[in-house]
Amino acid sequence: MDLVRHLRYFIVVAEELHFGNAAIRLGMAQPPLSQRIKRLEEELGVRLFDRSARQVRLTEPGRLLLSEAREIVGRVDRLHELARQGGRGTVLRVGVPPDLAATVLAALVAAFRESSPEVRLAPAEVWTADQVTALAEGTIDVGLVRHPVAAPGLTFGQVLVQAQGVLLAESDPLAGVGEVHLADLAGRELLMPPKEGEPGWRAEVLTECRRQGFVPAQVHEGAGLGLVLAGAAVAFGPRMELPGLAWRPLLGSPITSRVSTAWRAATPAVGDFSAAAARTLKESAGMTDEGAAPVRRVSRRPGMLA
């Protein structure tokens, strides 16, 4: 059997959890799809789906095999991609944070294509900590990382900063005020990028929140803004407009995001990307050169030490 093709069918059915919909996506009829899944199950010797009760569900072995299947299919695709290029031009493998705005990534790709048309950009969405690992292992050539980050052997490009605002559900009472103080967020839960992915930024942000009177009862992890839309959490981020969400600046700019490119081996392509990234982030993401951090004033009131 063509194992890779069968794995592709398996992945689509696992994503749809509906044989009819999966068949439509694959451009085939449902009976042959069902048959092929059955054949794959025979080949592997496990049941991948639980088809009882008019509902398709992944079995436990199915869930375990799904991530492996995705990796195998991804590697095969990459093999074909490299073969297609046949050595013409080079590929620059770039890591970018998964929460980078789509428009910013698009601008980045466009700017790099303009400055280095002979190099093909292969971006992958990877959090900072994983980028550091990927750079060390050589699976990416250059990354776009969030500071603070420290790793031996890494060289960083120009650091750009951006004051973050707060994202709230439209129904939040604070959505109606001009600007929000961190302390005003007291009692709310916070959505942040995963701890393993952005340890430095997360620690920095949570310390600043605590210092300014906001100790979130729970810190949720993820890049999707569903919890914010639901009014169950708030998040920090650059100004954005999304239906159902409100963005408000934070009084005193306490939370800033600092990003730069990072690499281990300097190549012309890495240098070009680094320059293009700094330019694009300033132009289309509203980032600025890192200046001296503003000193926060702490007003003195007699009751503070009485």
Partner: protein, 285 residues
């Protein structure tokens, strides 16, 4: 009757809290971590006040004696003589008033120089308050924070807070909610010193200026709240006596440590009043 849900109340205000309250006359009481050793911050000024009065009662000093406070006496602080610029000549009892009503650090250390640690701690032993100790003056406490953190005020970094010895009851002035309440009960029952001295101490404690903590829980013209606060980064406390129009008197001590290191936390101040009110309501049922 079940104990009020103090834990929930404190958590909603972003703090951990310890509390003890007792009817001054019947001893009927309620507690929440009542025997936890806690740093007392500026509340150490109350045992100092009592020891001062006992020395005056014993004829060892005259409270109307006038002393001059100079630049050399001045220690840091946001109120009273600590914030003034010029030398002041003032009686010992007016120094005591400033120390209690405004939590004046300079006034406290000047009086501490006259009374001494030994007299205070011996007195506390006599009272059976072995968990209450006075081992540092205000200037020493403030100075230790600069040494512990390596920098000057403000102290808002969580790492700095973890290093502060003034927040460690084994290295600074200390007590427990129960012992603070017992000390206040003795002042209100004329047991801490002579009846005249106790009456004067009650008057001074009643003139404390801060309305945002214990007093905020009793917003009634016919309820009197007397007390003394204590504040250090993340630590807010107050011990006082609440007197009801029907003659009921209740000594209450509340200590809190906030999760946030922010200096301005009105909710953390107010919960001291709310918790005290809950405790007194419980005792009056």
């Amino acid at each position: 009757m079940s104990t009020p849900a103090f834990d929930q109340l404190f958590r909603a205000a972003g703090v951990t809290g310890w509390l003890y309250a007792a009817d001054v006359d019947t001893g009927h009481d309620v507690g929440h971590g009542a025997d936890e050793p806690m740093p007392t911050a500026s509340m150490f000024k109350v045992p100092l006040l009592v020891a001062l009065c006992r020395r005056a009662d014993a004829g060892l000093l005259d409270l109307t004696e006038r002393v001059t406070v100079t630049a050399a006496d001045r220690v840091g602080g946001p109120t009273g003589l600590s914030s003034m610029l010029d030398d002041v000549t003032i009686s010992l009892r007016d120094l005591a008033y400033l120390m209690i009503a405004l939590s004046d650090n300079t006034a406290a250390d000047k009086l501490l120089g006259r009374v001494g640690f030994e007299a205070i701690n011996t007195m506390l032993d006599t009272f059976g308050l072995e968990g209450t100790r006075v081992v540092q003056g205000s200037g020493e406490m403030l100075g230790s924070m600069d040494v512990d953190t390596g920098h000057a005020w403000p102290f808002v970094d969580p790492d700095d807070i973890a290093r502060l010895s003034v927040l460690d009851p084994s290295r600074t002035n200390r007590s427990t909610p129960r012992e603070m309440v017992r000390l206040f009960g003795m002042i209100w029952r004329d047991e801490a010193a002579s009846p005249e001295s106790c009456a004067w101490m009650r008057g001074v404690l009643n003139m404390q200026v801060w309305p945002h903590r214990m007093a905020s829980g009793f917003p009634y013209d016919d309820v009197a709240v007397s007390g003394k606060t204590g504040t250090m980064p993340t630590l807010r406390c107050e011990t006082g006596v609440v007197e009801y129009p029907d003659g009921g008197r209740y000594a209450v001590s509340v200590f809190t440590r906030s999760f946030s290191t922010a200096l301005n936390q009105p909710r953390a101040d107010a919960v001291i009043g709310t918790a005290a009110r809950m405790a007194v309501d419980h005792l009056r049922r």
